[in-house]
């Protein structure tokens, strides 16, 4: 397991970049999990999570 952190201010594109990377590595048979603060939870829609077989965990305040 490799832990990759993406930090930045709200709206800087953290979720968008992570989604891009998940999709890229998913095509190479690499599976992903995401720990996201609650602000970002709405952006990982169910279709994306299911289609890329992602495990999604939320952390409050982090």
């Amino acid at each position: 397991m490799r832990v990759v952190s993406v930090s930045g201010t709200r709206g800087s594109g953290k979720t968008t970049l992570i989604r891009e990377l998940i999709a890229h590595f998913n095509t190479r048979n690499k599976n992903s999990a995401v720990i996201v603060n609650e602000e970002g939870q709405a952006v990982y829609d169910a279709d994306f999570v299911l289609s890329h077989d992602i495990t999604l965990e939320y952390i409050r305040g982090g």
Binding site: M1, R2, V3, V4, S5, V6, S7, G8, T9, R10, G11, S12, G13, K14, T15, T16, L17, I18, E20, L21, I22, H24, F25, K30, N31, S32, A33, V34, I35, V36, N37, E39, G40, T55, E57, I59, G61, G62
Partner: protein, 132 residues
């Protein structure tokens, strides 16, 4: 980042490692968490499980950079400091002279940075290569 939050994050990492062991675990913290804190939490988790850490990527919002640099510079510097990769994001919305101006403001604070746009693909290969 407070002690309880750091502990929760470490516990979550351990659980994911033990139960699923994904190839990649992405951490998307709130904007108030700086890179040094993320590195410290990564080190804490390594005390009793094994995983690879990094890269630690920092995104700087290109279109809002000048405003954020004037209003929240300490926070931005906290994101930049100790990062493996600094990327100025959403560069498809910037003119060349605006990007150059951001570069001038950043030059004393980080060794290098890349322009990034997931909209047109700029810089994505560099990020992927860093993870390879």
């Amino acid at each position: 980042m407070g002690c309880s939050l750091a502990s929760s994050l470490v516990a979550l990492k351990k659980r994911l490692k033990r139960n699923l062991d994904p190839d990649l675990l992405f951490i998307e913290p709130s904007e108030m968490v700086v890179t040094r804190e993320l590195r410290d939490v990564a080190s804490m988790g390594l005390r009793d499980i094994h995983y690879e850490t990094g890269p630690f990527i920092t995104l700087l919002d290109g279109p809002l950079f000048e405003f954020l640099w004037s209003e929240r510079k300490a926070l931005l510097l906290g994101h930049v400091k100790d990062a493996d990769l600094v990327a100025v994001s959403r560069v498809d919305l910037l003119e060349d002279h605006e990007l150059k101006h951001i570069g001038n403001l950043l030059k004393d604070h980080c060794h290098g940075w890349i322009p990034l746009s997931t909209h047109n693909g700029t810089g994505v290969t560099e990020v992927v290569n860093l993870m390879a």
